[in-house]
Symmetry: C2
């Protein structure tokens, strides 16, 4: 695990989740029997993110810890902003408000063709169940984010053995950690 390689001061969280509130959102948005529009979906993700920042990430950063999140802001920009057509700037604005301005120092984008990702996945959740079309729009959106912010969003080729991906991600995180001033 990446967070173990980073040492005791690293903290792993996931989105949506990481708090009681966020896990409740997670269960909700992934439920294939639920049906709701893109605005409600984006707002639920932002709400979960607000709680994760308030309850977990900000206190951890204040203690000097490194926080590694499985998905964060950029996932909302790709899924809701770009792939669902809500607008990247609009979704970014709501999330900046939700996180009170907290933005990741580094986002690692694990690039893989949707078909290869599906072949790896087990049971499909509500997002995966929407099929290859959504996943291709999401992939294009991540590519665009990596092009727009090449310093902060780093692309890692993920259709390789886990060890090689792990090593590259770890090197990127260590470099980012060295570059970030103490908060």
């Amino acid at each position: 695990m990446l967070v173990e390689a980073l040492g005791d001061e690293a903290l792993a969280v996931r989105e949506p989740g990481g708090t009681r509130f966020g896990e409740r959102v997670r269960e909700w948005v992934k439920d294939p029997s639920e049906e709701f529009g893109p605005h409600a979906e984006a707002l639920l993700f932002a709400a979960a993110r607000a709680e994760l920042c308030r309850q977990v990430i900000r206190p951890a950063l204040a203690e000097g810890r490194v926080v590694v999140s499985d998905r964060f802001l950029d996932s909302s920009l790709a899924y809701q902003g770009a792939a669902r057509g809500l607008g990247v700037d609009e979704v970014a604005g709501i999330n900046r408000w939700a996180t009170e301005g907290l933005v990741p120092d580094l986002t690692v984008y694990l690039a893989i063709e949707p078909a290869a990702a599906f072949a790896r996945a087990g049971q499909l959740d509500r997002f995966e169940d929407e099929g290859a079309d959504l996943q291709e729009r999401v992939r294009d959106a991540y590519e665009q984010l990596a092009d727009d912010e090449p310093g902060r969003v780093r692309r890692v080729e993920a259709d390789r053995p886990a060890g090689a991906v792990h090593a590259e991600v770890l090197a990127l995180v260590e470099a980012a950690r060295a570059a970030v001033p103490a908060r």
Copy 2:
């Protein structure tokens, strides 16, 4: 009931609620055992509002119906924007995005002193349980909204017999309905 007095084409909804999504939000935000920050709270209300507009209010307006909602946008401005200190403009911006620009033609503010309202209430929900201090800030916020938009937000003195309040609200709604152009 107001909506009955308005005739068959009127539709009554409540917030949060009115959709499966919104009723789930309602249960959540009113649960006294839940604890979450003001940003997450505001985003949940906005998500429920987005779904109510998408699934219920816009289709009803498109059919020429009058929609009466027990709470809407202005409640979020008063509770989350003003009383919780998030900022009225910020909360308004998020909600304009959530409702895709839908704003009530008329908001009726039922003005009553918090102490008198508490005397009427039965079991307290999560908001009421926060006590008189929050309720007084909310009251002040509604007064401000009515001062800022005297045409759209109308103040009705509610510490009177129900029949008198009903008659005044009905007259305001009928006047607003006559003034609204067909959509």
